[in-house]
Amino acid sequence: MSLTPNEYEQLNKKYSPSSKTWKNCAMAFLVGGLICTLGQAIMNISSSLGLSVDESGAAVSISLIFIAALLTGLNVFDNIAKVGGAGALVPITGFSNSIVAPALEFKSEGYVLGLGAKMFVIAGPVLVYGITVSVVYGIILYLFHIV
């Protein structure tokens, strides 16, 4: 074919449909909002049972992680994420899903080299760079306070 890669990219763009951004954003807002509402409900219930604010926050994280892990195992979470997109993936539910999904998938290669090694294949980079950024942030904060 006599096209250059640039010309071909134009041709590709002409025929490739783009994502439905507005619809996706609206669904992400709704599903993400629902998950956060659920988190708030757990927070309120925990507080009413006598837990402190910090303890209630931990209860929210634990509960949402558990629910997302369970729904991943029951083949339900990916269907929620298909509708909710980033609304399901950005909250802590997405983090839970990203660890449980590969754990399930790679169990067939054994508990050590499969499940254990591949469990963090998606979440690993988030941990590496999340922790790195938090260290950098801590150093900046430390220096800022010294100044």
């Binding site: 890669p5 590709n12 490739s16 979470f77 990916d78 298909k82």
Partner: protein
Amino acid sequence: MPTRTGRYTLILNSCPSVVGFAAVASKKEAEGPLARCFDIVNEDCTFGESTWEKAESRMQQVVVGKALEKAQLSSTDLDYVFAGDLLNQCTGSAYGLRDLGVPFLGVYGACSTMAESLMLASLFVETGCASRAAAVTSSHFCSAEKQYRYPLEYGGLRPPSSQWTVTGAGAAIVGQSDAAPYIRAVTAGRIEDLGIKDANNMGAAMAPAAASTIKQFLEDTQTQPSDYDLILTGDLGQIGSDILYDLLRRENIEIAKNHSDCGLLIFDREKQDVHAGGSGCGCSASVLCSYILSRIRDGELKNVLFIATGALLSPTSVQQGQSIPGIAHLVHISNTK
């Protein structure tokens, strides 16, 4: 013996016949428009196995057995088997066919494997190297997702240009016979790469290769698209098909009227949420070895150009930012010698 015509096309003068063919598919494929065409449908995509990889091997084993049964042959009647799949080291084929007891030649052409294996089996029969040879190809949605993309239960979104890997397999047994379908000619394709890097847009990555091979065949044989009832590409999907028409129009070749794509035939794109269409080498294999070959055999189709298209990428090459090389091989299948 075959005769080379033009630059890259080989005319098979003895016109080897597809003496037996069979297709296996799973639940999602059986919910599509071709549901009734498949010989075996397994509602459970594990095919009774404990892993997706074993399931794919089981499909290959089952599909060869069914094709032999339909041809009233046994594995001892085969001289060679050409087989391939999408898994690393082609284990779908090797493990699936290890008990067949037939000399095995593994082939890899990504999703072009059905055309590549059928081409090689036909050439072996044409040249007398084999009295009968089998071409077998499979893909499995779950094993392909695991290897190329994300774990099945991960909630990542699929962009509109992505395609759905078919869980299916096809087998064709080639021999000398006086019954259609006949293999009349083959054209091996060149690798074409116009710089597409998006692994979620395979159709666009493969369309230049399809255009190149179709153009080469028409030039070599001095024929027109209108000389064929059907020009059938493997798994270009909607985007790849649209680009293919555009690319060929630039060469004054119009195929839109008699073109179809296995990836568009196997699924109902609107109802089955497969975005741009079906893909995987089991897509063209299961469509060819069911719906298409039976229609050629029955005379509903007289002359078909089957062009299976492949994207020769690996997850590593994509992560390293390399563009995706495309390939397309053509097999001319006819109702008459």
